[in-house]
């Protein structure tokens, strides 16, 4: 959830063309290599110790029988690829993989994308209180802390006194017990749609009004307009947002706050599964093996994303990328 970056281009005064100024070249403040290295070191050390090292350590941990307690805690044994074989053959892993797929595809790829686009499209040429209200509520769902949001949904779906049951006249329906995965998916659509809405809002502002006008005059239906005039212009944005929301949703731990993976693991997506096996059951080696699989999946998504971004920033497309 990076914030908008608006590098405010400071009005640059014309560069002093004196030979003296030019001689400083790149290193205007006269920092020098040694000082530059010293400036960079704190950040690099922190990143190395707390970000890079853990990832490398996962590689090693995944090949041991490391446990939180007991003999294997003090003297872990090398077990080679055993953990990976166990993980890949584990029925619980298969279930969590399947649930994660439902979570990512259902809530992020389909839910957030379609709803976010629909809201952006409907609001594109509106202004005034309705638009502010809709956008405000959608954003609120995005910016409130996850613990608060999780409790709001627990209250909404409560079996005995929940608002939803009161509204629908279905007292006693235990949504979270009967349909845990569906609840988590709908919850995540609610929570994350803001990002797609804002991104598509910005993207739609990029479609030349003349294109839409032409489509309207030609008598094109909404669907035809979207397909022929809008989609080709915002294809890059769609791909970007799909990859980002997939990455974020895949790594989201918030469902733990609502269902804790239950009942009977029926909403145990992979992030929750890692937590339960590694820190709940204390099987750190086994958990590390799953962690590594998660990192690999992240790597694939992120590489595709960076590749897409690079091609969008290529010279011919600069205008679109800077949008």
């Amino acid at each position: 959830m990076a914030p908008p970056t608006s590098p405010r281009a400071e009005a640059a005064p014309p560069r002093a063309a004196s030979p003296r100024a030019a001689s400083f070249g790149e290193d205007a403040a006269g920092l020098g290599r040694a000082r530059a290295a010293a400036f960079t070191a704190p950040a690099l050390i922190l990143v190395a110790v707390f970000l890079v090292f853990p990832a490398l350590w996962t590689l090693y941990l995944g090949t041991t029988d490391y446990r939180l307690t007991g003999i294997a805690a003090s003297d872990p044994r090398f077990v080679g690829a055993d953990n990976y074989r166990d993980v890949l053959g584990d029925g619980e892993f298969h279930r969590s993989l399947w649930l994660t797929l439902q979570f990512v595809v259902g809530s992020a790829v389909v839910g957030q994308t379609l709803l976010g686009f629909a809201i952006a499209w409907v609001m594109r040429d509106r202004s005034g209180p309705v638009r502010r209200l809709v956008e405000g509520l959608v954003l609120l769902a995005w910016i409130l802390p996850s613990s608060v949001i999780a409790f709001l949904w627990i209250a909404l779906l409560d079996r005995d006194g929940g608002t939803l049951n009161a509204l629908l006249g279905t007292p006693g329906t235990a949504w979270l017990l009967d349909h845990p995965m569906a609840c988590v998916v709908v919850f995540n659509v609610w929570r994350g749609t803001a990002f797609s809405m804002m991104l598509y809002g910005a993207a739609l502002g990029n479609v030349p009004p003349s294109h839409l006008e032409t489509a309207r005059l030609a008598g094109a239906s909404t669907w035809q307009t979207l397909r022929d005039a809008v989609l080709p212009r915002i294809r890059g944005h769609v791909l970007t947002s799909l990859l980002l929301v997939s990455l974020w949703t895949f790594n989201d731990f918030t469902p733990f706050l609502i269902t804790a993976g239950g009942p009977d693991g029926r909403s145990e997506i992979m992030s929750v599964y890692v937590y339960r096996t590694a820190l709940g059951d204390g099987r750190l080696g086994f958990g590390a093996a799953i962690s590594l699989l998660m990192i690999l999946i992240n790597l694939v998504i992120a590489l595709v994303y960076l590749r897409v971004l690079r091609s969008r920033r290529a010279p011919g497309n600069a205008g679109e990328a800077a949008a």
């Binding site: 914030p3 950040a43 890079v52 996962t58 802390p145 820190l279 800077a322």
Partner: protein, 275 residues
């Protein structure tokens, strides 16, 4: 005639869609709006019997206010560390030609997006354990800083790149040392960037649940995100008066911060997000 019917249907369809969206997004929030002021908060959202008594319940709870203070400590500590380290690194990387700089930044950004708290919770827990950082706020701050720094450096480098070098050259002509130049010329110019990174960091840390949940044992040190979770799992029944007021108090800072940022800088998307 036909066109008029179609237009009417279109308007009805739009109005239905907008109402459905409003309902969907407002429904869970109703409870947060009503329950804190309700003399008898139930689990269902209902118009309140107005009272401020619930806030007294909050003040009396030993953990509630302390946890908000912990959240402030974690967020402020992380923001200070992220802004300082990122500003120094971004400035050096922006001004001094280092071989392989772009590749380094690219790899850092890639790593920070794939090594997330959830994917790396096992090694991060063990690392904190071995460095004796379990149950230490500093541990949480350091882990979070490591994860946020690459993106922060990226954001700030944009700002420093946009700073005209002639300012610094002029200062140097008058005999300023590099550190003086940094403090008196560069920092004021990139202040919007520093503010952006600080606000972004605070927002990330303020809502974070996993890392403090993983690394802190003592409830006295737990931030609001974790303490809130204990209000409704221990003791069986959730303490609704407490949870509702606490939720409101805990949410306010991020909402205010968002309003401030959107007023001041415009909350819109420029450039790729997370480039």
């Amino acid at each position: 005639m036909n066109a008029a019917v179609r237009e009417a249907l279109r308007r009805i369809g739009l109005a239905t869609f907008v109402s459905a969206v409003l309902g969907f997004f407002a429904l869970p929030l109703l409870w947060l709006a009503f329950a804190p002021f309700d003399a008898n908060p139930g689990i269902a959202a209902s118009p309140p019997e107005f009272t401020l008594h619930n806030f007294k319940v909050l003040m009396d709870n030993p953990y509630a206010l302390a946890s908000l203070r912990n959240s402030v400590l974690l967020a402020a500590g992380t923001a200070a560390l992220v802004v300082t380290a990122a500003a120094l690194a971004a400035y050096a990387l922006s001004r001094v030609r280092v071989p392989g700089r772009d590749a380094l930044l690219y790899v850092l950004l890639l790593l920070s997006s794939i090594i997330t708290g959830t994917a790396a919770m096992v090694p991060v827990f063990l690392l904190a354990f071995n460095l004796h950082l379990i149950d230490s706020r500093l541990g949480v701050v350091l882990v979070l800083t490591g994860g946020l720094l690459p993106a922060a450096i990226f954001l700030l480098k944009d700002f420093t790149d946009a700073t005209p070098a002639s300012y610094e050259e002029a200062a140097r002509v008058f005999g300023a040392s590099p550190l003086q130049i940094l403090r008196h010329v560069v920092v004021p110019v990139i202040r919007p960037g520093l503010a952006t990174v600080a606000v972004w960091t605070v927002a990330q840390v303020w809502g974070d649940f996993l890392m403090p949940f993983l690394l802190l044992r003592n409830p006295d040190k737990a931030p609001a995100s974790v303490i809130m979770y204990t209000f409704y799992t221990e003791g069986g029944q959730p303490d609704l008066a407490l949870i509702s007021t606490f939720s409101l108090l805990y949410s306010l800072p991020v909402v205010l911060m968002y309003l401030f940022v959107s007023r001041r800088y415009g909350f819109r998307f420029h450039g790729g997000i997370k480039r």
